[in-house]
């Protein structure tokens, strides 16, 4: 990051607050989650590094450290910490991260693509049939579960490959990523139904 602190001039790691003098910055809603965590946009994210950043930056913006500094500072801290938490949530979730990148690069949205290919929908109908008929814990259900998990892994690998390195803005490949993301939603829904049918947690 090349931005500097308006208060003390030190380099800024995050637009939320200055690590050197501690001043809180005003950040607009919808700021780029990568920027908030001091990262360049990109699909691969090191989970451990992300967490270290979250902790480091939370130390700068957590409301507890502004408890006696008046309502205004406290409100700003609440807000900046909420932005930080939201950015972390987006970046630590593969789907949300990919979704942001596709949108950022001008790719199609979930609805832009229209319906999924016929063959895929047929497959989904088969899963649903098994889900309706097979009893929880049965061999059939277990087979479906492992099949879906495999399917999910395959889609994830495709998405990661298509987004690493990041394609050019507006690239045609973005539509493929969006389709994979949509497909994964179906898979996740089915997997969710399996774990729900296995009984309450």
């Amino acid at each position: 990051m090349d931005a500097t602190c308006p208060s003390c001039g030190a380099g800024l790691e995050t637009p939320l607050a200055c690590g050197a003098c501690g001043v809180l910055m005003l950040t607009e809603d919808g700021a780029c989650p990568f920027a908030l965590l001091g990262l360049e946009p990109g699909f691969p994210v090191d989970a451990k590094d992300l967490k270290t950043r979250l902790r480091r930056f939370t130390r700068l913006v957590h409301p507890d450290f502004f408890a006696l500094e008046g309502e205004q500072a406290l409100a700003k801290a609440e807000r900046n910490n909420a932005l930080l938490n939201e950015a972390f949530a987006v970046l630590s979730d593969e789907t949300r991260r990919a979704d942001r990148l596709v949108a950022r690069l001008g790719g199609p949205s979930e609805k832009d693509l229209g319906s999924m290919p016929q063959a895929f929908l047929m497959e989904v109908m088969e899963w649903n049939e098994t889900l309706e008929e097979a009893s929880p814990g049965s061999a059939e259900m277990l087979r479906l579960s492992s099949e879906l998990t495999e399917h999910r892994d395959r889609i994830s690998t495709e998405i990661a490959a298509a987004l690493t390195p990041l394609p050019q803005p507006g690239a045609a490949s973005l539509a493929g990523v969006r389709q994979s993301l949509n497909a994964r939603r179906y898979v996740d829904r089915a997997l969710g139904r399996i774990s729900a049918s296995a009984g309450p947690a």
């Binding site: 809603d29 902790r55 939370t58 130390r59 957590h62 409301p63 507890d64 450290f65 408890a67 006696l68 609440e78 807000r79 910490n81 909420a82 932005l83 938490n85 939201e86 972390f88 949530a89 947690a201």
Partner: protein, 623 residues
Amino acid sequence: MGYIELEVLEDQPKRVVIGIDLGTTNSLPAIWKDGRPEILEVEGEPALIPSVVHVSDDGTAVVGRTARARSMDDPAHTVHSIKRFMGRSLGELDEAVLRRLPYQVTQTERGLVQVEVGGKRFTPQEISALILREVAAQASVAMGGAEVLSAVITVPAYFDDAQRQATRDAARLAGLEVLRIVNEPTAASLAYGLDQKEEGTVAVYDLGGGTFDVSILSIEGGVFEVLSTNGDTSLGGDDLDALLVDLLRSELEGSVEGSVFDDPAFRQAARLSAEKAKVALSRDPEADLVISLPELGVNARRTVTREEFERLAAPLVERSIRCCERALKDAELEPKDVDEVVLVGGSTRVPLVRAEVERFFGRAPHTELNPDQVVALGAAAQAEVLMGGSRDILLMDVTPLSLGLETMGGAAEKLIQRNNRIPCSVKEGFTTYADNQSAIDFHVLQGERELAADCRSLGRFKLTGIPPMPAGLPRVGVKFHLDADGILTVSAKEESTGASASIEVKPSHGLTEDEVSDMLEASFKNARKDFEERRRVDLIAEIGIMLRHATANLTVAEERLDRESVEDLHEAIAAAKEARLCTELELVQAARDTLDRATMPLAAVLMDSVVKEAVSGKKLGDL
């Protein structure tokens, strides 16, 4: 004001923030001192305040030990365990709990719970405020008179928005600013100094008087993160007592009229006897349940072995272990991943509880600190952070319950998921269904269920001031913010015109802003007594400061004072020390005035030397 001048010799005392464990059974204040948290003590004893309020028919309320002492003879005027009612409506309260109460519980038209004692109705917030007032007063005495205006208060991690808000309102009614509401389990691990750990996972098992909580925390380089919380708001030490009360009842069955069991005096005596036996059973292999109420024809002794008690208690303990399982599952961990287990709450002294916790987690739990004190100690540690003393400790919390809105078909749409980090904000867009519609109603829910009716209603919000426009055109952005304490605030803006829409809040279980103001006003108006009590506490605080200065300065300047003044002062100091425990305003006032007069000669001597030093310093500088 002889002592005021003396303050030039010392730094101004900094603002005091205390930690308060506002418990179901007892409340306890603690403070950070000399680099560690410390339980505040009065007369060498922890300033433990039983969370009990007694209200006489003339409306006089007493709190704490005195109230608990009266509960035996006068149970119908004594309120226990009010924490169970905080932020709840009548329909949500456990009927078994209500049945055991020796007083009436009613609700207002709006559904707010009220307890009826001494011919007056009190909301749980008001009862809790009385307790907090007493805690602050005792803390003030313990600190030699420093005024207590701000506090960190702990709540079960499982508390929802309404319960947290009720706690905050109670503090406001007590004249305390709540700087932070901290989850009890988090406080407990702070007390154990687990923030010093390089890295690890901690399970906090908190079996309090009225609630059970388990939290799984991760600690890394001083950062606390609540990974998950689970619990049961109707499982606690009181339930263990109830098992023993049931034993007593079956012992008496047949020998007394059934109506005796509903007699408030019986219920209270049975409860106290059960509590005593429970404590004894943690130590001894057997104990006696004894009850003797000649006026009711009740006289019984029943020996209980630990084995029998454990057999009865096993299902309750089992329920707590199931919560531990769920908490671990949410944190995606196995029992073996837990590095430390912390016990909180007096009931964790029950050997069966310790054994089951150890069996489940596969390791011995921490028992070094008093399980009744760990939460208050941790609150004090957090108070130090808030006073700007340290950034070493950082609590990163999660919300225990999902937050959502009721949609058209009565379904609950989740906006913020359970275990989401807080603070957090969510923005939702709304529009109108009819032309020129100027208001939108919505219903905020908390809970995990799919249907709105199965979730807990937090409140109804009415968005007004939408400019007249065709249906579907306005774009109203509503921002839901869960703050670091887990309390919700809602704000709104009409985005197409920039007109600010306003939000009217109707909490389902809490006090409105107006109600809090009214209660505050009423408490000012009503109570000359309150005023006098306040004045007394202030005077005691003042005496504390005076004593501190007088004793300190006396050792420095004693030889420069005439003998008579020294004697006067010693006498006045002794009298003032006694007066701090006095309940009569006039006597406290007199002691303060005497001390004030007696310190004047000392002040004069000291001022003299200060001036001399200052003057000689100047001369030195001039040279």
